[in-house]
Symmetry: C2
Subunit: 141 residues, 2 copies
């Protein structure tokens, strides 16, 4: 069984889970980590504690999704990939999560699932005015 952790600077992780709940209803096996929301600014310590808790759930394959590549939250998890066994994705967004959650029970490895969801989420970041212009151009033609 897979379990997901959404990790961010501030309340992005909790905010996006609220959006997921509105769109998909309750989803199981999803935790959030919101860093820098209190006086504790030691991100490495926070990530250490989080990974310790993750490892207590020994039956789960963990997929961690962080807010931004190169940010401190992602960097801190990145540094743990040598010692600990989990999957790490950067670039938290709604399409990515919906695709991950919708297909988590399909007969796919985590790697296949993640690669698919990453590609789909990239393809749905769009400048919509351009789409509309090309639609109009098609219609005219």
């Amino acid at each position: 069984v897979r379990k997901f952790l959404l990790a961010s600077h501030g309340y992005l992780a909790k905010g996006i889970l609220n959006s997921i709940n509105i769109i998909m209803g309750d989803v199981e096996h999803v935790d959030t980590l919101c860093a820098y929301v209190d006086e504790n600014n030691d991100i490495d310590q926070l990530v250490d504690q989080t990974i310790k808790k993750m490892k207590e759930d020994t039956n789960f394959e963990w997929i961690v999704i962080t807010d931004i590549f190169g940010g401190s939250v992602n960097n801190s998890f990145m540094n743990k990939l040598d010692e600990h066994d989990f999957h790490l994705i950067s670039g938290l967004n709604l399409t990515l999560l919906i695709d991950l959650f919708s297909n988590q029970n399909a007969n796919k490895s985590a790697k296949e699932l993640i690669e698919q969801s990453v590609e789909i989420s990239k393809s749905t970041i769009k400048y919509c005015n351009e789409l509309r212009n090309s639609k109009i151009a098609e219609d005219d033609f």
Copy 2:
């Protein structure tokens, strides 16, 4: 001057603005619209009201960033592009916003700014384990 509206199902828009504030400090000219968080489920009415308010700020060029392509929030704004003059992006994520906000005063049209930010944000959605594997392969070589 440009003004930004972050629009989402639920509290994603407010959550990501909190993350932005932690990373970049206060940012000017950013509003949020969180739909479906109260008993008002009429998204088209909510978007109509929002666009009416946007048009009262006549000195601004508006850039609207919605949570997900094909979702009701994006669809509703998409339907307004024929009648109203604003820029619409789908796929709200942190890299996109940081790039938009950081470069908003560069000497670029909104179109150029948006196209750049969209491309950069796509490139930072990554499966980090794969990066690490290719880094290890390079080091071995």
